[in-house]
């Protein structure tokens, strides 16, 4: 490794691997290292041996779960919006050829004691049992208004200015009930809290349109989400493969001992007695503990189940389930993400569910209780807390570009925004995606 590179990348999380792939394709000489002996960092999918090593180092994995190769347990609960930025990046880079994707079969929202399917279209809205008849009409009008919106054509605006009026005002205009606002904002626009209500409606509009266009993005989708077979950990591996094909060098299981600076600028990375040189270093927060700050905390419970989530339609091999903050009497929503052997992430007849939320109290596990209750009997539960970190500086001074932690949102939109942001800072130009 004692060589000069254009860019050294530390950590093989999804953000780092996408950047590594994009930069290699552009002809940059990339060295990509990870302290772990597996790909993916915080966004990895672990086999059982590694899962137990991480969460219960004192225990060995039980024999009843079978072979390691049948398990790919995600550490973070995220699905891909079918019309989202990650899909666009996958198509742009042709990494779709290395990975297969399947649908997530349903999206649910809790209301009172029950869970309901999230209406994904005007038609769905009309048949949903979530609302009364008059409210259904109002929701239909609201969704039609959003879908017909055209910036250039004031006749589609109905007196609303998306950049001036806040979202509450738009809801008021369509006289939507509180419960409807709740599921539109939390289950369609996928906001984690209610602060969006006071902001200009534009972003909420864009999020709802993303939801609706995702549901119709591929044939036969029943939710806006798709998911890679063999788990989310395939995504970083796919981009790492792209990078390697274009000359990127990969070293796993590599201790990173020092980031070397000269006059405040990065010049290389040392591992034991070898030093690789580069003027730009990209990495996840765990490699730069003194250059990041904590902005929050998430708590997640990875659960092994032997049944689908109760009270969902039959054949639901995978679902997203949202408990909006008001229902939970909290400031942030609780999310449940469930996948199964259909996605080759666990042995046959098992299901994997991750319950997660943003930490608000000193007893984070208790904050997940409402979500855990919806799972039925839990065979195995691994609870862990992680800090959400972000870089203090943007890298223009020292040449160090640090990614953000994987946040509590249920999809990859914020990850892609981070990728684009870092890409621009590293290369000095916008990432322009091929758009068919």
């Amino acid at each position: 490794m004692d060589e000069e590179y254009d860019v050294i990348v530390l950590g093989t999380g999804l953000t780092e691997c996408i950047l590594s792939g994009l930069l290699s394709v552009e002809g940059k000489k990339v060295l990509h290292m990870d302290r772990n002996d597996y790909y993916g960092g915080e966004s990895a999918s672990l086999d059982l041996t590694r899962l137990y090593r991480k969460f219960r180092p004192e225990e060995s994995k039980p024999d009843e779960y079978g072979r390691d190769r049948d398990w790919n347990v995600d550490l973070i609960p995220k699905f891909m919006m079918a019309n989202g930025e990650l899909v666009k990046i996958l198509i742009h880079t042709d990494v779709t050829r290395y990975i297969e994707f399947k649908d997530i079969s349903g999206s649910y929202v809790a209301s009172g004691e029950k869970i309901y399917k999230v209406p994904a279209s005007e038609q769905d809205a009309l048949t949903s049992s979530l609302m009364g008849m008059f409210e259904k009409r109002r929701l239909k009008n609201f969704l039609e208004f959003l879908q017909k919106w055209n910036d250039e054509d004031p006749s589609t605006h109905q007196g609303i200015d998306l950049d001036k009026n806040n979202m509450s005002a738009v809801y008021d205009k369509f006289r939507l009930e509180t419960g409807t606002r709740e599921f539109v904002g939390h289950a369609m626009a996928l906001y984690l809290d209610d602060s969006y209500l006071d902001l200009p409606a534009r972003e909420t509009y864009e999020r709802i349109i993303l939801y609706i266009t995702s549901v119709t993005r591929f044939a036969n989708l029943k939710s806006p989400y798709i998911y890679p077979m063999y788990g989310l950990g395939e995504l970083p591996q796919g981009f790492a493969r792209l990078s390697a094909i274009y000359g990127g060098t990969y070293m796993l299981n590599k201790q990173i001992d020092e980031i070397v600076y000269e006059n405040g600028k990065v010049v290389g990375v040392r591992s034991e007695n070898e030093t690789a040189k580069a003027k730009q270093v990209i990495g996840d927060p765990s490699y730069f503990p003194t250059k990041v700050r904590k902005v929050g905390e998430v708590v997640r419970a990875i659960c092994i189940l032997t049944h689908p989530i109760p009270n969902t339609d039959s054949n639901m091999h995978s679902v997203q389930l949202i408990i909006p903050q008001n229902q939970a009497k909290r400031k942030h929503d609780i999310y449940v993400a469930c996948v199964s052997s259909t996605h080759f992430v666990c042995a046959q007849n098992y299901y994997l569910a991750i319950v997660s939320t943003i930490v608000e109290t000193d007893n984070p596990e208790a904050e997940l209780q409402l979500g855990l209750k919806l799972l039925g009997p839990i065979k195995e539960k691994f609870v862990y807390k992680s800090d959400l970190q972000e870089p203090i500086e943007d890298g223009t001074e020292d040449g160090v570009y640090i990614s953000r932690s994987y946040d509590a949102t249920s999809h990859f939109e914020s990850v892609c925004a981070d990728v684009k942001d870092i890409y621009k800072r590293v290369t000095g130009k916008d990432l322009v995606l091929f758009n068919p």
Binding site: T96, R241, L252
Partner: protein
């Protein structure tokens, strides 16, 4: 090479409408149009190469796919997939989809993604370097632990041309065989591997590696375990997401796709 994914599909289609193969000199035959049904085998292509010494894995694939050999081949850049069709004695037609490991194995950093669904692996060593067989053995072990339990593994000792008597030269080669055929063969037998010695340079034994692999894989596995995710017989309610119908190939694939198909 700048075929997009779509172009590959087209060239396969064209071939099955019986365009003669440019590489018809070799025993792999072009596929006439009536043979619409064929299985596809994904072959994972592993090399035992160490960082400083190439054992000729890419040359072997190029010989198989394009029937060509390049003396000073640069390390593989931009080549992801290579495909080749092969007709067996019983008229069974098999499409090989070969994944190049792109050097990720050099520092023992091969992604498990390569093992997924691979129905066969070719582990290559260099007959003139004993250490390369040791490395090959460690890959075999890893494959047997991690990969699909039905995977067919072939061990190929490459570069036998270097240790064969030179016909047209008075100069004696100063390169010696370090791995005796019998030793490697005995190991392959013990570990349950197919065994071959090859010369990518002269084209010796290369096609044989693939035809023997094809014979060894039970036809029902080929039919049921295509890369197209049809392994998913567990749950018919799940639909696989298909990116291809829209012809959605990004500019990167379009620009420098390493795929080749001369079937």
């Amino acid at each position: 090479m700048s075929n997009s994914g779509r172009a590959i599909t087209e060239s396969i289609t064209r071939t099955s409408e019986s365009t003669p193969s440019p590489a018809s000199a070799k025993p792999v035959q072009a596929v006439p149009s009536r043979h619409k049904r064929f299985g596809s085998i994904r072959v994972e292509y592993l090399s035992s190469l160490l960082s400083e010494a190439a054992v000729g894995k890419s040359s072997l694939v190029l010989r198989f796919v394009n029937n060509e050999f390049s003396e000073n081949k640069e390390p593989t850049i931009g080549a992801a997939f290579l495909t080749q069709k092969c007709r067996l004695e019983d008229n069974k037609v098999i499409k090989f989809e070969i994944w190049d490991t792109a050097g990720q194995e050099r520092f023992h950093s091969l992604a498990p993604m390569y093992y997924r669904n691979a129905q066969a692996a070719v582990v290559v060593y260099d007959v003139t370097k004993a250490a390369s067989l040791d490395k090959a053995k460690s890959w075999v072990k890893e494959l047997q632990r991690q990969a699909n339990p039905n995977i067919v593994i072939a061990l190929a000792g490459n570069k036998i041309d270097l240790v064969e008597p030179q016909e047209d030269s008075e100069v004696l080669s100063n390169i010696f065989r370090e791995v005796p055929t019998e030793e490697a063969k005995a190991y392959a037998l013990e570990a349950g591997l197919l065994f071959f010695e090859t010369s990518a340079k002269k084209g010796e034994g290369v096609v044989n590696v693939f035809t023997e692999i094809a014979k060894k894989i039970p036809v029902e596995h080929i039919m049921s375990a295509n890369r197209s995710g049809s392994r998913n017989i567990l749950n018919q309610s799940s639909s696989r997401i298909d990116f291809q119908p829209d012809g959605l190939n990004g500019p990167i694939g379009r620009r420098t796709d390493g795929s080749a198909c001369n079937c």
